[in-house]
Symmetry: C3
Subunit: 472 residues, 3 copies
């Protein structure tokens, strides 16, 4: 049986001078409260006091497409990982068997961020002491299962133990925010906040768009029968989200286009969509228009606009048909920002009330387009490394390519962006370690002094995110 | 006279902890047999027992466009390097003079992979002891010439000395594989295998296409008078290659497009080409179609499909007219993968019998498109850094950008891809050193443990390549 | 009061072996004369013996868009930094207040190249000893103001103190070069040279193009009434610049297109422009044509052609309308080189008299396109990291991605490209430090030996730039 250890100095340079400075910087920020301004934790997990995490397989494997895609890439069918086919076909329901399969493939995660987070969670959250292998799998399952039955391992107990100051969920524009309401009633409203995400109503070719529009009418009390009423309904929902504690909105798009349409054009396309007539090009133009329109609303209501661009969703069509979205088949595409954001930034980029935080999956744009843009426009900040790049090397590339041009203060700190609640401390810890180590590198090469580095480490870990998202 | 040395610790970090771990990992893999699953060594070199390497200039300079392009870029005409113009014009035939010119420009290779390979070969294969300069040039020529006359320096002798377990050549679809036949007859069939490369018949605008089609008819015994017979002839040749020991095919294209045509469209374009009527756009569409078709055949016969994308060939037209192809004027272009591979991967990406290994010259796609694709599709692996990126820094970038997202096990180990047989150990040695050093970096920063690192080092050096290419 | 220090070992690795080698290499090049073959220092600063730098705010802040953009990005209006609106609106004229604002925001420059240059200048050129903060601002202002009044701090005195061997300015094709004439008369002609930059007459959609053409007629004595006379006038001005000491030309373009037009097409577009009728597409085609034409002229007169590609100018339209160009709102765009340079390189890429030095803002093209092109064509060199990438990390990426493929000798040394004369030594010093440290990295990892590294360090610091620009 091999002992499972995680180095106290992980993510720090092996060079002794840099490591010493990194440790020192990290000591000062490691226990700062966690600010989690963007993520996908289900609100019911915290809103319902009786919510539990389920089995170890439900906690670590089944809902986590970072995990399942890696096993799938090596030939393990998703059915074997407990994922139900849409057609009602068979799938593994024995969670111990799912866990066994996972454990036998755990070597696939060597050197990956998922491997690091999982190891950190098992060791530091659940107290696992032996390395996960096919041989140790069932003992570790027993151990975690027992822990999950303890009162200290409910979602709310972990929320406190993790020292989360504030966590923002991501919610459909049509959501009634009932769990947020419950939280607000319990006095937790400042700790768990909603985020307004209108993609399903704004992107006219979303599957089930008419149904989403129906819900929007219902939720807003405004019958969405034309473009003007659509805009009014969105404004109504934004006001509701804001009243429920939201400080931000979130928007995903394949491209960064933000060219507005005339009112007549927008109305015409929207009317066509209502009649069920929509082509891909009109839908794309409408999405671009709506990003511009959402920026206009943000400049009025002060909600911070998040823009996540460049994911080609559901690349594997057969998998999508069989299992639905979010199965690890979303693949990045190259993104153009400079010309695409021109309309939005020329309209609102200097508006004192407007703020946009952008996220990319095209690392070649960090230094070429995004850092120069964020280093110029008062309204624009650059978000942290996203998705695949939320990793040790991904962060290092981000810091190396962004900081010299944008400057630290035009960036937005860290987002964990996760569905996997118990992985939150591990993810923030990697960021804190990597930024401290990067700053230590700057110190030992004489580029900044230790006093400045300490101030910057605090900003990376805590200050930037709070200010970027206008969290009180 | 300055002594020529090559550090025992080359490619390893100077940081003592990392270097120690790197050395240790490297010690365990340095002497593993060489698996060379893709390259351009002429089969006659090994198939003909009487084959010899020629003069030092023929061995190191004349056929190696990595070498000649660098001298050319600094104003040395190719004629001075012994390369015959197509028009029968004059060129240097005194190999000592060619060697002298090369030696006087050897400083151009400082810090380049070519410089490292040449140095390693001269020191470790040929026992050269003084640094190559204009002054030492002729003495070193004498020395190498004498070595080449020894029986220990024939191609086959070096094959054994290099401990090559298996080497795959790259052969035209129309090749009779006579040298592979001879090798098979001698019991060397498992050590030297052919690879099926049909580019010259598949790309309708290849110069001399009709002649290649004529040879295809001849080789297959199927008169290629229409598209269906073309497909049948290709299937026939694939079966022949497979019987001759091939486990893979190889395909080069400027773009990664894989959109299939209808049977009617494909037939129509093919018929036009037979009549000598082909435009660039139709040729490109046909190439895309044929990549899809080749994937279909691979899913049936199990030959591993290699896809090398993104080289704009023969950029310098005057040079091409004067000297022909492969003169160092092939320049990469940006490559789009996510949308381009969609048809192929949706048709065959989950087929249990299919495997595709992709190679890129656009490093920005490593983390953006290729690692996410390889980290999802069961049938896709990512090949090692190719061409210009088969270098110390090129490998480091590859490892940093690929491994976190794709995971080690979705990659294909190393290819040397070389024509220059005696450079093979030097090339594999760089890969083994760089991967061990990279793993050591992961160990000393606490991201993987030494046990895992040792397993991964073995995979990088040996295991991945064997499995990826289905080599027995 | 905190003491302001700049480490003697800045930019060097903390790893003791690498640092030792880096120091040693740097010691041998740190005091080499400065060759500054491309930049934007106003010629009057050196041509007029009475020229002075003005106030500390005029020296460090007001004209430097690297500085002002960063404060602007954090909400400081340009008016507060002493920049006059075009409409005659109010702006801060109290230079002490401007300085105070700058000092209070100096933390924004932590970890940026601007921060490093400013710190170096204040400490090493002006002898400032306390760290710049809001609290120390006015004392430091006093100190610098006093220094600037001393005879040792005139532009010419600093030119000598900085040990500048030669500095090339950048001058409109229509410039009378009167300051260069004055310098030539004083015997300084070999120390300050002009560079021919015809962008304003060559790009048909330049604001005020007709006025520039009028000036071209006047300066050349050739009445530019058609395309042929335009070409003749340009040839006339090139001859004049050459006679005034120029060794190079400079050209900026959004894309690298170099497709020539027929004489008839070029004439037709030019005639249209003269009549005030020009569309964006024709202007772009004419620019591409003129790059080809300028290469033709360079192959005849031997002036080295510089090509700066990929900046989308004046992205922030409102800011442009209010303050004019060069306010930090120029944002890079992705650049395609391989196909775009094909016409130019096929026409002149092997011409013995022609040389082109290219500069990019798209780092993804370093390894993909530019290093392979520079490593092949005799006429092409790759310029140093430009603009945002003239930074420690920017240089490291450049060296890592370029040197293995292009080789050192196909690059062009360093350019400071600056308007800010007193920052010149700081900028060259960063380059010398980073290249020496990079070479030291190659030495300690056994990739080059110390003898080669010393030769390469000299080339980086001095030799390459002199040869690249054909400076005597």
């Amino acid at each position: 049986m091999s002992q499972w250890r995680l180095s106290e100095d992980r993510c720090f340079s092996a060079e002794p001078n840099q490591r010493r400075v990194a440790r020192q910087l990290y000591e000062a920020v490691r226990d700062l409260p966690i600010v989690s301004p963007h993520g996908h934790v289900p609100p019911e997990l915290l809103g319902d006091p009786n919510a539990r995490f389920g089995s170890p397989a439900e906690l670590f494997i089944i809902p986590d497409h970072y995990v399942t895609r890696m096993l799938y890439s090596q030939g393990v069918p998703l059915e074997a990982l407990g994922i139900p086919p849409r057609d009602g076909g068979a799938y593994e329901t024995d969670h111990r068997k799912i866990w066994q399969t996972f454990a036998e493939h755990f070597h696939l995660f060597r050197g990956t961020p998922t491997g690091l987070w999982l190891t950190d969670e098992m060791i530091n959250v659940f107290g696992v002491t032996e390395k996960l292998t096919g041989e140790s799998a069932q003992r570790i399952y027993d151990h975690i299962e027992a822990k999950l039955a303890e009162p200290d391992f409910t979602p709310r107990a972990l929320f406190k133990r993790f020292n989360v100051e504030v966590l923002c969920t991501t919610d459909a524009a049509t959501d009634d925010l009932s769990y947020h309401k419950a939280l607000q009633d319990e006095g937790w409203g400042h700790r768990v906040r909603p985020t307004f995400r209108p993609d399903a109503v704004v992107n006219l070719d979303t599957p089930g768009w008419h149904e989403h529009i129906r819900k929007l009418s219902e939720a807003s009390g405004i019958d969405v029968t034309n473009y003007d009423r659509f805009i009014a309904a969105l404004e109504n929902r934004r006001a509701f989200f804001k009243q429920m504690g939201a400080t931000a909105t979130d928007h995903a798009a394949v491209t960064a286009d933000t060219e507005p349409l005339s009112h007549a054009e927008a109305s015409k396309i929207f009317d066509s969509a209502l009649r069920g007539q929509i082509d891909a090009r009109s839908a794309a133009r409408f999405t671009a228009h709506m990003l511009h329109e959402m920026a206009r609303m943000s400049s009025e209501d002060g909600l911070v606009m998040q823009l996540h661009v460049g994911s080609f969703r559901n690349h594997n069509r057969r998998l999508f048909e069989r299992f639905g979205p979010d199965r690890g088949a979303d693949i990045p595409v190259a993104t153009e920002w400079t010309r695409a954001l021109l309309p939005l930034l020329n309209s609102f980029g200097t508006h004192p009330n407007f703020r946009v935080i952008v996220f990319t999956l095209d690392e070649s744009t960090y230094s070429r387009e995004l850092a120069p843009l964020a280093g110029h426009y008062p309204a624009m900040l650059l978000g942290p490394p996203w998705w695949f790049f939320d990793s040790v090397k991904g962060m290092e590339r981000y810091l190396d390519r962004v900081m010299e041009t944008a400057g630290l203060y035009n960036t937005a700190g860290f987002n964990d962006a996760t569905r996997a609640f118990p992985s939150i401390p591990a993810r923030h810890d990697v960021w804190r370690r990597v930024t401290c180590n990067w700053l230590a590198g700057q110190v030992v090469t004489g580029l900044i002094d230790e006093e400045d580095a300490a101030g910057m480490a605090y900003e990376f870990a805590y200050g930037l995110a709070k200010r970027a998202y206008r969290l009180p």
